[in-house]
């Protein structure tokens, strides 16, 4: 649905994007993850036809953004980082204006505006001035403007930034609901956002794609993958180091009752053998956990300067 190849953008001598490439299939929800200044907004602006790339190719729903920007604009709904709203207009006026811009006739305008308001939970807010709305509701108006023409592709730039936790939850639920009928590309520097909504992430740092794939694959690709944590009593840690599949054992301080926390470099399937070895040695086992590096660790290691 969205194809980006060898995308470069520079302002003068300063490169903002360097050889960015990814492809998004129909119906996917993909998060563009990266620290501030990584090039997330620039990428999205090029995808929506707002900015032109220095070089590279972008196709949305089969249309080239440079050759046929209007076709791309018809297929894309876009919510910029600050929702583009006119505080002087009412919610209804704003949506009917966008519908008219997109070439809807009078009846279709009213219909499309009404449907969009219902979908984002703004039913009954039609006559409120946008300037008097709370941030969360403004975000809803922004999303309503973006989905009004039922675009197959939805591009959301930091859709939850600056909202309070309750509003973040509401907007996330809304985006998840929209994901059923749109291909969604959203950007964020908040890890939890990707974890909560996107099965797949494209990690962008300093204008380059650092990683692209399902979250678990990203975790596995960075650092040493996972490890096993255990708490044992009455068994020497070195005994467990001899279990097949365990590379090394790092014992911690034993507590007052004699329980020793252990960190073992081992694969997830080695856990039953570890449990069996503890039993054979006549020891006790209180915990045996498979651990993955947190997304935070993954993110930091991916976006660190090489």
């Amino acid at each position: 649905m969205v194809e980006v190849r060898a995308l470069c953008k520079s302002w003068g001598p300063r490169p903002a994007l360097r050889d960015v490439g990814f492809a998004i299939g129909s119906g996917e929800i993909v998060g563009i993850l990266g620290p501030n200044g990584a090039g997330k907004t620039t990428t999205m602006r090029i995808l929506t036809g707002y900015l032109a790339a220095t070089s590279g190719e972008v196709r949305v729903a089969g249309h080239d953004v440079l050759d046929d920007p209007d076709a791309v604009k018809r297929h894309v709904g876009y919510l910029p980082e600050t929702p583009p709203l006119y505080p002087e207009l009412t919610v209804g006026q704003s949506l009917r204006f966008v519908a008219e811009l997109r070439g809807y006739d009078r009846r279709a305008r009213v219909l499309a505006a009404g449907t969009a308001m219902e979908r984002v939970g703004l039913g009954g807010w039609e006559d409120r001035r946008v300037g008097t709305l709370s941030k969360g509701y403004r975000q809803r108006v922004g999303i309503a403007q973006a989905i009004l023409h039922a675009p197959p592709v939805l591009i959301l730039d930091e859709p939850t930034s600056g909202l309070d936790p309750a509003q973040v939850g509401e907007i996330r639920a809304l985006i998840r609901a929209l994901a059923g009928s749109h291909t969604v590309l959203l950007s964020t520097h908040v890890l939890a956002e990707v974890e909560a909504m996107c099965p797949r992430a494209v990690v962008l740092a300093a204008g380059r794609v650092r990683a692209d794939g399902p979250l678990d694959a990203l975790r596995a690709a960075t650092g040493d993958g996972g490890w096993v944590e255990a708490e044992v009593r009455g068994v020497a840690p070195r005994v467990l180091g001899e279990v097949p599949g365990v590379a090394w054992v790092e014992p911690g301080e034993a507590d007052a009752d004699g329980w020793i926390p252990l960190r073992m470099k081992a694969a997830d399937p080695a856990r039953p053998s570890i449990a069996a070895a503890v039993q054979v040695a006549g020891g006790q086992l209180r915990a045996l956990r498979w651990c993955l590096p947190s997304l935070q660790d993954t993110f930091l290691s991916l976006t660190r300067d090489p």
Binding site: R45, A71, R74, P80, E81, P84, L89, E100, G103
Partner: protein, 236 residues
């Protein structure tokens, strides 16, 4: 072109919801009243000659104030991103905004229609001259709105945009006095570019295609420049 009407309607809704347009209309109408009284009292003529030519000068300062927000505010607010990510040509956006500002000027000019009515009650004005004078003022407004709109595409600061508009138009007006400061040969060459010369014939009841072409060229030129600014933004 439906996009131009969408923008026109939206602009008028915003003008109606903000104080700027009302303040400027009030200022223009007060000045018109003052100019009307001065013109009639000083010359003793039943004509709008003084009022209309002075209003043209006032427009030079007022119209850029009216148009200063039009693109600058969209840029500042981020709504330009909304307009330009819809399948709409920058030309349609510019035309819609220009027509909206011009509509407002038209409403204010229509309100000054009370003055010729007063003249008709007490004297015998030349309706032909009044009609051409209003046409001249309309041409001035159209050209000034275009210039102000272009100024507004140059910066995202309102006040700077307003001042830029005035600064762009001021030389056109000052050319009338050019022979006093410039060498004769230069002044003669620049004279056809001056505003005042092209307005005079309207005030005398004469419609000269050269004058109409002057204002059309001025207006279209600035509209093309403004469109160009919006288009070029994609590449920066």
């Amino acid at each position: 072109m439906s996009a131009a009407w969408a923008v026109w309607r939206k602009e008028l809704a915003i003008y109606a919801a903000t104080p700027l347009a009302y303040v400027l209309a009030a200022v223009t109408l007060s000045l018109a009243g003052l100019f009307f009284w001065l013109g009639v009292a000083l010359t003793g003529e039943a004509s709008l000659r003084v009022m209309l030519s002075d209003l043209a000068v006032a427009q030079l300062f007022i119209v850029p104030m009216l148009t200063m927000r039009s693109v600058a505010e969209e840029r500042r607010q981020g709504t330009l991103e909304l307009l330009l990510t819809c399948p709409v040509s920058p030309g349609a956006i510019v035309v819609g905004k220009w027509l909206a500002a011009l509509t407002l000027c038209g409403i204010v000019l229509a309100a000054t229609g009370v003055f010729p009515v007063v003249l008709a009650m007490y004297g015998d004005p030349d309706w032909g001259v009044i009609a051409t004078s209003y046409l001249g003022l309309g041409c001035v407004s159209a050209a000034f709105c275009a210039a102000g709109l272009f100024a507004s595409t140059l910066t995202d600061d309102h006040v700077a945009a307003g001042l830029l508009g005035i600064v762009m138009l001021l030389p056109l007006w000052l050319l009338a006095g050019a022979e006093r400061v410039l060498p004769r040969a230069w002044a003669e060459r620049l004279a056809p570019l001056g505003l005042v010369g092209h307005l005079q014939s309207f005030g005398h009841g004469i419609l000269d295609t050269a004058d109409l072409a002057y204002f059309a060229a001025l207006g279209c030129g600035f509209l093309v420049l403004a469109t160009h600014r919006l288009e070029g933004r994609r590449w920066r």
